[in-house]
Subunit: 265 residues, 2 copies
DNA sequence: GGGTATTTGTCCGTATGTATT
DNA sequence: AAATACATACGGACAAATACC
């Protein structure tokens, strides 16, 4: 059995999809039709469809059928800025929609952030390590959900040492937006100046909550980026950790180093 | 049927894995054992195992059994450098093994690159667009495979406009390494000075060749990073495009902006 | 709203092939 | 060569989701 039958069926369907004979969004044959078409059992045609599903080429909808997967117009985030001090943080930190970013119909894409959800928590593992705090230290966490054109785009949580609030930056632990951005706020209240940041990018399977929010399949076949951004103050001490989770199927990143020209539309 | 039986079985096994009761590399129960354990049919326990497989928690080996997945010690690539001119390119371009990068036993990890495989090709699609060439222009492609400690780590292809060879940089189209790095070579022969670069990072499913090389499952459940690095010369013109493909299960990226302290081991 | 047809999801049983020990 | 374990393939039955009348 050089090539199993379900793989041959999958290959045949794949070619039709990639050649364009079957267009995105279009309904595929039903399992019954495929069974007759290829003279195979239902198990076998279902294995073929599952193969294509894991590859991300088709998706199945109970009660409706199997459809050729739609390509999602990706959202591009630039991780580098010309202004590492974050003075323009409000728009720079995953907030920017570049002027050339339009959807298929030419509408500008509009982002929307929920109000920050604030908690006092204890820092363990990665959070403690990145902020250089001892395990179990208290931190302020500010969590936001982000949408673009009403589709869920990212989950973001920022962590600050608990002491910041006691030292004068008390609005950190209040719910609600800090209008001019937290970086400016920390400079005005504590004299902390952000001089740079480090991003650490990984990919992993989404957990249940993330899969639910992003509308991803519960099995892990669509991964998520996990970006930890550690911001440093003028003494080289971590002043903030931001963890952002974004689905890999709708996000891309840009990194600019040195002198680079603008991106042409 | 609030939760299907195969999901309940999967959850039960998952908890045992994540709690540490089942350790990485350890063999799980066989299908027959699981069938008796949970009083389910073979199909159902296989569905449970398939669920865990897609999540990346276990892997199956025909004739042997099912095993808890090993975590791969990730290799970290820093995308930003303090030297955008690429003078130290030889080690900076995905070539660097940082001094703190050791494996579990404390051995330094040693990278190995194959000799470049050189071809003259026509540029289409992304390659043409990034290099700002018209579709069908000729380009020199230099392809390398990269290993770290004998495990396949990345596939890398660099593209240069064909004209570079004719204008004096003729060794570009020769097979074999260019000892001091291509960036320095292009400066010495054509006076092209690299002033910066832009990385564009995406994630997608591997194709058949990539899955084979990286030893990834043929279905797309483990994705690959695809990093396009466009290098620009002093006139803002693209002088090189490097496409690197790396499995997401063993690679991470770092981006430094502004003043950031060294990473502590 | 209810009922029916359609389609995928879950689950069972069985048999045979293939890889490994 | 034999035993073991996963992979492929067939068959059937009922459940759940959706669309349509």
């Amino acid at each position: 059995m050089a090539n199993p039958m379900y793989r041959q069926i999958a290959e045949d369907l794949r070619e039709q999809i990639e050649s364009g004979a079957l267009k995105p969004g279009q309904q595929l044959w039903t399992e019954l039709e495929l069974r007759e078409r290829y003279g195979a059992s239902r198990t076998t045609v279902r294995d073929a469809i599952r193969w294509l599903t894991t590859l991300g080429l088709v998706e199945t909808k109970p009660g409706q059928g199997t459809f050729v997967a739609q390509k999602i117009h990706p959202y591009v985030t630039t991780l580098t800025t010309s202004d590492p001090t974050g003075a323009g943080e409000q728009v720079a930190m995953y907030g920017e929609v570049d002027s050339y970013d339009y959807d298929a119909e030419g509408h500008e894409r509009v982002p929307f952030n929920t109000e920050p959800q604030v908690e006092i928590r204890k820092a363990y593992g990665d959070v403690a390590a990145f902020l250089r705090l001892t395990e179990g230290s208290q931190v302020i966490s500010r969590h936001q959900k982000r949408y673009i054109d009403a589709t869920p785009w990212s989950l973001q949580t920022s962590f600050y040492p608990r002491g910041f609030a006691a030292q004068g930056a008390d609005r950190l632990s209040d719910a609600g937006d800090i209008a001019d951005g937290t970086i400016r706020y920390l400079f005005e209240t504590l004299g902390l100046r952000q001089v740079g940041y480090r991003d650490w990018i990984t990919v992993r399977a989404p957990d249940g909550t993330e899969a639910m929010f992003f509308n991803l399949p519960q099995d892990g076949r669509v991964g998520v980026f996990q970006v930890y951004r550690t911001a440093f103050d003028q003494t080289g001490t971590p002043m903030r950790l931001t963890m952002t989770v974004l689905p890999t199927d709708r996000n891309e990143f840009i990194v600019n180093v040195g002198e680079v020209p603008e991106i042409s539309p």
